[in-house]
């Protein structure tokens, strides 16, 4: 019990601290902190499947995308939608709900999409699984870019209501708590057993397919929720928001922190976000005792180099795949 308090408490406290600090800053910096919260939610969603199963997925941004589109479009005023997206499905066009309700829908849609994708794909593992999930991402990105019935396609849809820092923070904490509850449940333990030794797990009567499918659906729901948060943080839907770049950045956050622990996912997301924001500012001059101005483009190179270095020097990530604890086990 005490262990659970510490292991769940540490990431939750980190998120609460981020939300509290957010209030101190100007609006421009608030955006960066809010973005860090959203990235944390996405990394946690990735962790639920990738961390517990040991199977890589490049497709989770598809579920984030579903959350973004559904969560965003449902909160826009119907009159605006008729004007900006005349081709939209009538049910999408006429519905108008609150931000919080849209988050529930985003999570539900992400979970259902995850289940639908997982049903055939969870039979695969290793590299074929990676490629197949990537193909899912490719299909989702292609359809969202061209199908006028589901969204603004190549246009940018703006004027989506923005969520406050506490909404984002509380939703992220809910995602963390769900991920923790899952990993401590018998399902989470069974899936981790299949990660450590598939043959032994199967011999103990565990269905690898079923356990992976459960984790994939839950992970899809959390990714959908994170997508809902993302759209209400940005206040807009832009084309190509949810393709390779977001996939790479969120995966790198997870690997940077340590794939195999929830603490790693949260720490990695916040650390990379912080570095990203700092370097972004430094390209427009910051004062840290002295004036620092970096040439434009250094941000991407530094982020890339830091991530490559951590992965190469410490493939198990900053946390080494351990949960937060006072004693080293």
């Amino acid at each position: 019990m005490r262990r659970a308090v510490v292991e769940l408490g540490a990431p939750v406290l980190l998120v609460v601290a981020t939300v509290l600090i957010t209030g101190v800053f100007s609006r421009a910096h608030q955006l960066e902190f809010k973005n860090a919260l959203v990235m944390t939610a996405i990394a946690v969603a990735l962790y639920v499947f990738i961390g517990n199963s040991g199977v890589i997925s490049f497709g989770h941004v598809s579920f984030v995308a579903v959350g973004i589109y559904l969560g965003g479009i449902l909160t826009v005023d119907p009159e605006t939608k008729t004007f900006t997206m005349p081709g939209l499905f009538p049910s999408l066009r006429h519905t108008h709900i609150s931000v919080v309700a849209s988050l529930a829908f985003a999570a539900l849609a992400g979970g259902l999409y995850g289940l639908a994708v997982g049903l055939p794909l969870m039979r695969l593992s290793g590299l074929p699984a990676g490629i197949a999930t990537f193909a899912v991402l490719g299909i989702t990105a292609d359809v969202l870019y061209y199908w006028q019935k589901v969204g603004p396609t190549a246009q940018t849809l703006s004027d989506i209501p923005e969520a406050g820092r506490w909404t984002l923070g509380v939703a992220t904490i809910i995602a963390i708590a769900a991920a923790y509850a899952y990993q401590r449940s018998r399902f989470g333990r069974m899936l981790r057993a299949t990660r450590e030794d598939p043959a032994a797990a199967r011999a103990a009567g565990i269905s690898i397919y079923r356990q992976r499918l459960i984790a994939f659906s839950l992970s899809g729901a959390l990714a959908g929720l994170a997508g809902g948060l993302y759209v209400h943080q940005l206040g807009l839907i832009a084309p190509d928001l949810t393709y390779l770049d977001l996939t790479f950045v969120t995966l790198a956050m997870l690997v940077f922190g340590g794939v195999a622990s929830l603490w790693g996912a949260v720490l990695g997301a916040l650390a990379i976000s912080a570095l990203n924001s700092f370097l972004g500012d430094a390209e427009n001059t910051v004062h840290i005792g002295f004036r620092l101005t970096l040439p434009a483009g250094t941000r991407l190179v530094t982020i890339g180099a830091v991530m490559a270095l951590v992965i190469i020097l410490r493939p198990s990530g900053l946390t080494g795949g351990r949960e937060f604890g006072w004693r080293r086990r």
Binding site: I56, G126, V136, G138, G304, I311
Partner: protein, 297 residues
């Protein structure tokens, strides 16, 4: 519709993707690693060609090959060798190649800017000659022949030399090959050199028809070739090459014959068929039917 020209272009594009597929498949064979940063080798070669456009073509091409091979070896030595020595999980290795790809793109962006550079080397190959009233560009012929020669050459290298024997042994069973005296670093280094030469060849041939070089130009090439490799079958080089060729050919035909309005959902259809192939024939479309399927990754 000009069928002759479309088919000639599609065959040459197929040959290019066949080369990329072999480059990726060769490294996969010995290391069980999909190198997502392979496309960045092609981009590097293209930048070298852009900056040596004023030079005589043979000199520019040699510089390009040397630079790309050096970068391929650097990727292996700096990024992938330490990971392999540590026994990193396949997932971590895969993400590492993603990170290398991202880093190289960022470096290109910082060094060469977003606007892109133009390659002038071998531009005269865009002129066409006429056979039976069909216009065929010289590059289509040159790319097809070069691609064919390089594929046969790689095959000969693997089948007729001692080093090639070691590579094939390592691809069968890396640990046993090492016990029998195959030097791991040499075999892997060798496969990266060959992959680098193939990437440089792709840079030269690709930039004739697409002379604009941008930091991210390698990404779609890698993705398409990877689709081909997986659809064709990863475990054999020839099936990977055939898969790469098929993807390039289909892509070239659709690009020439259909208007851009008609091809919007083409990527979705292509990716959908990839999923189908993975589910129904995980070893690849062109893998022999009798082959026992062993899961290695």
């Amino acid at each position: 519709v000009n069928w002759g020209q479309a088919i000639a272009d599609a065959i040459s594009l197929g040959a290019l993707y066949g080369l990329v597929a072999v480059g990726i498949g060769l490294v996969f064979g010995v290391m069980r690693l999909i190198n997502f940063a392979y496309g960045e080798l092609i981009t590097a070669g293209a930048y070298v060609l852009a900056y040596t456009s004023g030079w005589p073509a043979p000199l520019a091409i040699i510089t390009c090959v040397v630079a790309v091979v050096a970068l391929a070896l650097a990727q292996e030595r700096i990024a992938f060798r330490p990971l392999r020595r540590m026994g990193a999980s396949p997932a971590a290795m895969l993400v590492a190649t993603f990170a290398v790809s991202f880093l190289l793109q960022a470096i290109y962006l910082l060094a060469f800017g977003t606007r892109g550079q133009i390659v002038g080397t071998l531009g005269q190959l865009n002129r066409a000659f006429t056979v039976d009233g069909v216009d065929i560009r010289w590059i289509a012929l040159v790319a097809t022949i070069t691609g064919g020669v390089l594929l046969l050459g790689t095959g000969a290298l693997l089948n007729r030399t001692t080093m090639g024997l070691h590579v094939r042994a390592a691809a069968q069973d890396f640990r046993t090959a090492r016990i029998l005296g195959v030097r791991a670093d040499r075999v892997i280094g060798f496969s990266f050199v060959v992959a680098g030469v193939l990437a440089a060849a792709v840079s030269v041939l690709y930039t004739v028809s697409n002379p604009l070089v941008q930091p991210q130009m390698g990404v779609p090439i890698t993705i398409f070739a990877l689709v081909g490799v997986v659809v064709g079958g990863l475990d054999r080089l020839w099936s990977a090459a055939l898969g790469g060729f098929a993807v390039g050919f289909v892509y070239g035909m659709f690009g020439d014959l259909l208007s851009s309005q008609q091809t919007v959902y083409l990527p979705a259809v292509v990716y959908g068929s990839v999923i189908l192939v993975l589910l129904l024939r995980p070893a690849g479309l062109f893998a022999p039917f009798r082959a026992r399927q062993v899961e290695r990754v």
